[in-house]
């Protein structure tokens, strides 16, 4: 079967053709690779890097918050968030479906979360679950290894923790920064966690640290393989508050015992240090720490008791009898009366043709200033108030801190009202009637005060006329040790005559230690001085008209106090909404004072109180 010459020649030719063709093809391939690997190398190298390198934000922990003794009040814990990285999901719908099933979430909810963030740049992972349970984290990581959930990322994030349910409105809460906050405040970026109320908000700039970043190598399903470089986050500054943990605890225990809504503010009357501060009902700031769920938020915002509002600085209430010290101060300082000025109380008195009742039907008989305060005689104060006039009452009440903002370092403080003819003219375009002064003299009518201003009022009477500015920040540690923050300057000084003031203090001493209504606050050896107030939330006639109603029409109970009488170290106020009587508020004050002095003298702190025996129903 030898090959014929002719065939052999054709065969050789065709083989040569094939040789050339193949050589050309291989040359073209080589050129192709040269173009990709050498000419366009830079472009592809960048693409490869974008493929496998990712920069992760490392959220800085917020600064710790400690009390005046260094006890931790607010700290951080680590939580896990589960996110979808859209750049690494090949099929977003599938990932949503699988993730929902793995986490035990409704697929619709997961989809809704993803849809909300759809317009954000795709390199930003969408957080589906914040503060995931360990079971959820385990479920995801186990499946990620099986490459079933490409693009699902589990991240560890520092999260705010409030170890004890206390002072919710004082600490406030944190939450994801809103769009308006990002555009209004410098240095904030979308996704940041910022303080949204309380000191978390006021001192947000200090508390927020500086986020770090981490460049990591990830594989095709977004799993971190190793870290390339890490820029550690800087923790926020630590804050020391003026708050005393034990005083705060005592306030909370008192409210827990009574179960009333209300507020309390306790100050150091010489410096304005806030020792304790509460508003009830409260919320759990922990619920916000890792993003509040819709249901909890809806419950908080729709609650008729308004748990989110801070009653201590935003609640405006009729002061009732606690206003009488302001009237007495005005009358004494303006020389209208002396402490020995006496009035005869028969249970009611007539001014401008209208009868005004004292709370005691039979009347108090003849009383001087001290005893008028002790027994809270309305007729006495109708009389001296009427003699003093609204302008002077307004002037001195303001000097004592009422109807003014206290200037406390908390957001959105509201201002109360001490009326004046100018105010009435501006507000209602009406003249002031002298009869209104009579009502104002016992803290009714259009007078309204916030609990924090009442605390300032108590402190001003206690320290002799200096209207201190209540404040919460005591010291700051930026990592180089604690630096004390000087207390803010007092708002004003009332030029009070010491003797005249002392007569008022004597009256307040008698309220607690004599025959007065503040007996519940008595603390042997500490000369507790104070004044109850029981303010109607509705007029007597109104009450009759309303008849039976669901609404709570019980009176509000006040107790303003300081101790000891002659060298006060603590001053404050307790307000119980619908607390029936001011003497109930004095129960809380007693527990606070007992705790304060026990701690100061190193005695064991009093146990949780039992108020039932002394409670006015």
């Amino acid at each position: 079967m030898a090959v014929p010459v002719e065939d052999r020649r054709r065969l050789t030719t065709r083989l040569s053709v094939l040789q050339y063709v193949i050589t050309v093809i291989f040359s073209i391939l080589a050129v192709g690779f040269w173009v990709l690997q050498v000419v366009e190398h830079a472009k592809f190298e960048e693409m490869a890097e974008n493929n496998h390198q990712r920069t992760l934000a490392l959220r800085a922990p917020r600064g710790l918050v400690v009390d005046r003794d260094g006890k931790v009040l607010v700290e951080n814990r680590n939580s896990y968030s589960i996110s979808i990285d859209r750049e690494r999901t090949k099929d977003l719908n599938r990932t949503i479906r699988l993730l929902g099933a793995v986490l035990g979430l409704d697929e619709k909810n997961v989809r809704a979360i993803v849809d909300r963030h759809r317009r954000e740049p795709t390199y930003r992972p969408i957080v589906v679950v914040q503060d995931a349970t360990l079971a959820q984290v385990a479920a995801v990581t186990a499946r990620r290894l099986d490459f079933e959930l490409p693009g699902v990322v589990v991240e560890e994030v520092p999260t705010r923790r409030y170890p004890e349910t206390m002072g919710a409105h004082l600490f406030g809460y944190v939450g994801e920064v809103s769009d308006t906050q990002v555009s209004d405040q410098e240095g904030l970026k979308s996704g940041d966690i910022v303080g949204q109320s309380g000191i978390e908000k006021v001192y947000n700039a200090m508390l927020m640290g500086e986020d770090g970043a981490k460049r990591v190598v990830v594989n095709s399903v977004g799993r971190e393989i190793r870290t390339l470089e890490e820029d550690e986050p800087t923790e926020g500054k630590r804050l020391q508050l003026t708050v005393d943990y034990d005083v705060q605890r005592a306030i909370e225990e008192g409210f827990d015992q009574l179960g009333f809504n209300g507020a309390a503010v306790v100050l150091d009357p010489t410096s304005g240090d806030v020792l304790g501060f509460t508003s009830r009902p409260a919320y759990d700031p922990n619920a916000f720490a890792a993003g509040i769920d819709r249901e909890t938020w809806a419950n908080l915002t729709s609650d008729d008791d308004l748990p989110l509002s801070d009653r201590a600085i935003q609640g405006r209430y009729s002061p009732g009898s606690t206003f009488k010290m302001a009237v007495a101060t005005a009358a004494l300082q303006e020389g209208v009366i002396t402490p020995d000025f006496k009035v005869h109380c028969t249970g009611s008195a007539t001014f401008y043709g209208r009868p005004f009742k004292c709370w005691k039907k039979g009347g108090h008989g003849t009383v001087d200033l001290r005893h008028a305060i002790e027994q809270s005689c309305n007729v006495y104060f109708y009389t001296i108030g009427n003699m003093t006039g609204i302008d002077k009452i307004h002037k001195w009440a303001t000097l004592l801190g009422l109807g003014e903002k206290s200037g406390i370092d908390l957001p959105n403080e509201l201002v109360g009202l001490v009326p004046s003819p100018e105010w009435k003219q501006a507000r209602f375009k009406e003249k002031w009637y002298a009869g209104e002064t009579v009502s104002v003299s016992i803290g009714q009518g259009s007078v309204s005060v916030t609990p924090v201003s009442m605390a300032v009022y108590a402190a001003t009477l206690a320290n002799g006329g200096t209207r201190v500015t209540p404040h919460l920040l005591k010291a700051v540690d930026d990592g180089n040790g604690w630096k004390p923050v000087p207390p803010p300057a007092p708002r004003s000084h009332a030029p009070l005559d010491p003797d005249k003031l002392q007569s008022i203090r004597d009256g307040l001493f008698l309220v607690v230690n004599g025959a007065g209504t503040g007996h519940n606050a008595i603390l042997k050896g500490y000369d507790v001085s104070g004044k109850t107030g029981t303010a109607q939330v509705i007029s007597n006639q109104g009450k009759e008209r309303a008849g039976k109603t669901e609404k709570d029409l019980r009176d509000n109970g006040w107790f303003v106090f300081f101790a000891p009488r002659d060298k006060p170290e603590i001053a404050g106020v307790v307000l119980l909404e619908h607390g029936v009587h001011g003497s109930n508020a004095a129960l809380v004050a007693h527990h606070v004072l007992d705790t304060f002095f026990a701690k100061k003298e190193g005695r064991p702190l009093p146990p949780k109180p039992e108020f039932k025996a002394n409670l006015v129903p």
């Binding site: 079967m1 030898a2 090959v3 014929p4 065939d7 054709r10 065969l11 050789t12 065709r14 083989l15 094939l18 040789q19 193949i22 050589t23 093809i25 291989f26 391939l29 080589a30 192709g32 690779f33 040269w34 990709l36 690997q37 050498v38 366009e40 190398h41 472009k43 592809f44 190298e45 693409m47 490869a48 890097e49 493929n51 496998h52 090949k90 099929d91 190598v217 990830v218 594989n219 095709s220 399903v221 393989i225």
Partner: protein, 364 residues
């Protein structure tokens, strides 16, 4: 049987080049399948075993005169058809295709051996004719190719099926098929393409082709592999990222890196330099084998060499092009380098035949 003097005519240069490519393949398989997070893989060992078996097959193909094989080619051919039919009904299903016969040690893929079988039967058929093949000859040759092709395409394994076509074309070309007919066949193919598009191709095949033309239209789906392949190759640069240092292959941005995309990984880790070495070796192997065809003492031998070489060359060129993201992604492996026992054994057996033809160029 095996005359001692034949030993001196073995083309050692070709053997060494083939073994060098095998070694390169083992290295790259080792690189891509060692995942530190999942423990070491033994895939490269499996590949080594396949090479050893393949060398055994190569030696076996050398020991007998190639004419013995071509004389028995009809039996081999029918045996293969039987195997393919067996696969069709009893084969093991993996990833949606019925391609394998499970043996105890590994899974046999008969379609790989079909290439050698078709080369043998076509060499025999055209080798017996003199002069340019007639229309009837071409038709018979076409049918002989079409039967296994159809069976393999049915598995479905369109990639492997298509590699049978170059065997027929190359052998027919070498046998003296008129250029006019070749031209007509090409024109027919071009005309048939739109019809095939409409009726014969499945949706996933269509999408592969359309995404090839514009990968970005489906960057996360079918176009993903193509884009990733380009990134893999392009990011390799001149000298590469180094052994096991490739990010694209190691971090699994590129799927089946040890298999279809092994050349991409080579390009990434060894760079353009490595690509030139591998391309050079492949070109050397192909040209050297063509030399064997030229030296063959009879037409039968030349046709046999070219039949074996045709599917090999087609696969190399297509796979390398695809590895650079310059051709639609298709399940075509790179002979001698890609992971796969059947392919390795069949390919080495094929080279056994090539060596056989060259070695026996002086015998009668």
């Amino acid at each position: 049987m095996f005359e001692r003097r034949l030993y001196y005519h073995i083309d050692w240069a070709l053997v060494i080049a083939v073994l060098a490519l095998c070694a390169l393949g083992v290295i790259m398989i080792n690189s891509t399948t060692a995942d530190p997070t999942r423990g070491t893989s033994r895939m490269y060992l499996t590949q080594l075993y396949a090479i050893v078996i393949g060398l055994g097959a190569m030696v076996f193909m050398l020991t007998l005169d190639y004419r013995t094989f071509t004389d028995k080619s009809h039996l081999i051919y029918f045996g293969l058809i039987a195997l393919l039919l067996y696969v069709m009904f009893f084969g093991q299903v993996q990833m949606g295709a019925r391609r394998w016969i499970p043996l105890r040690v590994f899974n046999l893929q008969p379609s790989e051996f079909a290439k050698v079988g078709v080369a043998l039967v076509l060499a025999k058929f055209f080798g017996e004719n003199r002069g340019s093949p007639s229309w009837t000859d071409l038709a018979i040759g076409g049918v002989l190719t079409a039967i296994p092709l159809g069976l393999i395409a049915k598995e479905p394994d369109l990639g492997t099926a298509v590699t049978l076509m170059p065997i027929f074309l190359a052998v027919a070309y070498l046998a003296g098929m008129r250029m006019r007919i070749l031209g007509m066949l090409l024109v027919c193919t071009v005309l048939a393409a739109p019809i095939a598009w409409k009726f014969a191709l499945k949706d996933y095949q269509k999408s592969r082709i359309s995404t090839f033309l514009d990968p970005s239209q489906d960057a996360k789906g079918a176009g993903y592999q193509q884009i990733q392949a380009r990134i893999t190759v392009g990011s390799g640069g001149l000298t590469g990222k180094g052994f096991k240092q490739g990010t694209q292959g190691q971090l699994r941005f590129l799927p089946v890196a040890h298999n279809d995309f092994i050349f991409s990984v080579l390009a990434e880790e060894q760079g353009f330099a490595g690509v030139l070495v591998a391309l050079g070796l492949y070109l050397f192997v192909i040209l050297r084998a063509l030399e064997a065809a030229r030296l063959a003492k009879d037409r039968l031998g030349a046709y046999l060499v070219l039949g074996v070489l045709a599917s090999f060359t087609f696969q190399v060129v297509y796979n390398v092009t695809m590895s650079a993201g310059l051709a639609p992604v298709k399940g075509l492996t790179l002979p001698l380098m890609s992971y796969g026992g059947s392919s390795m054994i069949a390919t080495l057996a094929g080279f056994g035949l090539v060596l056989n033809v060259r070695m026996r160029r002086f015998t009668n």
